[in-house]
Symmetry: C2
């Protein structure tokens, strides 16, 4: 098989994968909602199924959503071209639907727009093949970026200390290897960290269900904590750094990420610990001047009331359930991208990395 037409996964966990060829293949999405108990996948053979996999959170994590969106565009081109006329207009309609599946992850929009842009100069007859090649390239680039970030991030860590991570940023959240969890994976292999703590990450419990599952698969010991134990953990002296991913980074370095990230950044600063954000360059949204321009998704109250589909909360009450929060750039010590590490990110430093100077 043409090397252009395959993805080399760095480990056995595949959140998103294309099976078969462009014309008759499908997008296989691991249903992360059922992990760690059940390993099952959705076979998305049309755009609606691909959108559902994003909207209903079978797949989550900004980079994995980006890869899913790229493959969804393969399905979109296939679907648009079932009618010969105006397929490009139909494609734009489908692309808008894909972009609307989740509001916060910028990689979603980025991947879709990248495909749309590339198709502007491609003949109709080549469109499907070209989209497929680009989707695979986006996936491969994500894995390569993760491996690069993992090396860069691991080298910034104070050797021998413990680390705390939040949510899931591993192979499940990316094309493979992971962002923040990729740094932890590589740092563990290099014997640069002593202990890994994972916060359970309510309401979806990505830490308890996914990060713990992945680390266990990789034979990396992990200690789970409830989210509210993070300050006590820092006070206890068991960790030196907090390492998280990002759903979207503003041009000034403000970071939108899983609810609780802002809390961890403030607490890390209070305890003199380093706070590292690991995110591919595509996560940076240069159109958002600062974090207050990033839309924050509020999700249904039922996600707080229920755990594993069982009601745990009392009846007759309300909930406030923002899924993300915004961490101001001045609380971030290290912003790691595949283009390099930014110490104390700000608008100027990000612009420099963007321009490659």
């Amino acid at each position: 098989m043409n090397a252009e037409l395959k993805v080399d996964f760095p480990d056995t966990v595949h959140a998103v994968e294309w099976i078969g060829d462009a014309a008759s293949g499908y997008l296989k999405v691991l249903d992360q909602r059922l992990l760690p108990g059940i390993e099952t996948s959705l076979e998305a053979r049309d755009v609606d199924a691909a959108i559902l996999s994003i909207r209903e959170m079978l797949v989550r994590g900004a980079p994995a959503i980006g890869c899913t969106a790229a493959y969804a565009m393969v399905l979109a081109v296939r679907e648009a071209q079932t009618s010969q006329s105006d397929w490009r207009e139909r494609l734009r309609g489908l692309a808008d639907q894909i972009k609307a599946a989740r509001p916060t992850a910028v990689n979603l929009r980025w991947a879709v727009d990248r495909v749309l842009h590339s198709l502007e100069t491609v003949d109709s007859a080549r469109a499907l093949a070209a989209t497929f090649e680009l989707a695979l390239r986006i996936h491969r680039e994500d894995i390569e970026a993760n491996l690069t970030m993992a090396e860069l991030g691991a080298d910034c860590l104070e050797a021998g200390a413990g680390v705390l991570t939040h949510c899931n940023t591993g192979s499940l959240a990316t094309g493979g290897h992971g962002t923040a969890l990729g740094v932890i994976r590589t740092a563990w292999e290099k014997d640069r960290i002593s202990t890994v703590f994972a916060s359970e990450t309510r309401p979806w419990l990505q830490g308890a269900r996914l990060t713990a599952w992945e680390l266990n698969k990789s034979n990396i010991p992990v200690n789970l904590i409830v989210d509210s134990a993070s300050a006590a953990l820092m006070q206890s002296g068991q960790i030196g750094s907090v390492i998280v991913g990002a759903d979207r980074v503003a041009a000034n370095g403000d970071v939108a990420n899983k609810i609780g990230t802002y809390s961890l950044a403030l607490l890390a600063r209070s305890h003199g610990l380093s706070f590292m954000v690991v995110a591919p360059f595509s996560t940076i949204d240069f159109e958002a001047v600062s974090g207050d321009q990033i839309p924050i998704e509020n999700r249904p109250a039922a996600e707080v009331f229920n755990i594993a589909e069982k009601r745990v909360a009392a009846e007759g009450i309300d909930a406030w359930n923002p899924v993300f929060d915004v961490t101001p750039a001045d609380l971030i010590d290290w912003l790691v991208t595949e283009r390099g590490v930014i110490h104390k990110p700000n608008t100027e430093a990000l612009a420099k990395v963007r321009s490659g100077t």
Copy 2:
């Protein structure tokens, strides 16, 4: 009935209650582990059952544990006196067992020692009646203290702002009315607060299950949040204060309370919000010079792995599960006791309240 021999509850929620007389009555303990779904009680007719209700957390909350311990001493005297000889020595043995049921709540030790001390000058024939009267008095005093603290605390709040509370500190956690939740209840009745937020309080979900249940019973609207959303809530400007209880307060004002309290105190300080601790004077342990002398209970990892008896975490991992953390006194703006409000608590201020000067 002699007014000395009954307790007037301020609302319909009774965590702990003695049914009947001293000689043949029993201790009724609401099983809070099953709330909000099922309302059922344990009828403790011997010391072992009373200890079980504390150890297995049917009853929780330092003041409610104190009341339970006082009633457990009624059962202990009854049990010790089944043999005529050396009943006082047998009682001391049972008292030690009661004190060992939970390590952190100082009210437990305080209530047991208060009963033991009072019995030193009481005839054997009067011992059971005297213990029963004292247990009821301890319970009544707790309710009175809560009503006093509620008035004092409510007056300290900036009028019109929202509040956030953690864990459960209401009628379920006390003899009745509550400590921190008592302040919120009274402040709500006086129209001094705009909105009540409750953190769900993993791993036991006391906020989601108990605080929300109690507030709903009292027709006070409540918004539940996941614990990690507290910093984002503060950032959003929806609250002016954080109000919590305490399991034990050291002589210098350091506060041991539910895991997550220290985190909330740091975050409140970072956002310029007031942080209030509401605890009866009996919660202050003057033998503990500072917080590092308070033993912190670590509970089984399974409490983090499971929710509502269902395993949610991945297999093959560890957990770090301290139930309490210690908040340094300098993060506390208001320490409210029934003897008065201490602004910015420290060793001198607490000693002054102790001596009544």
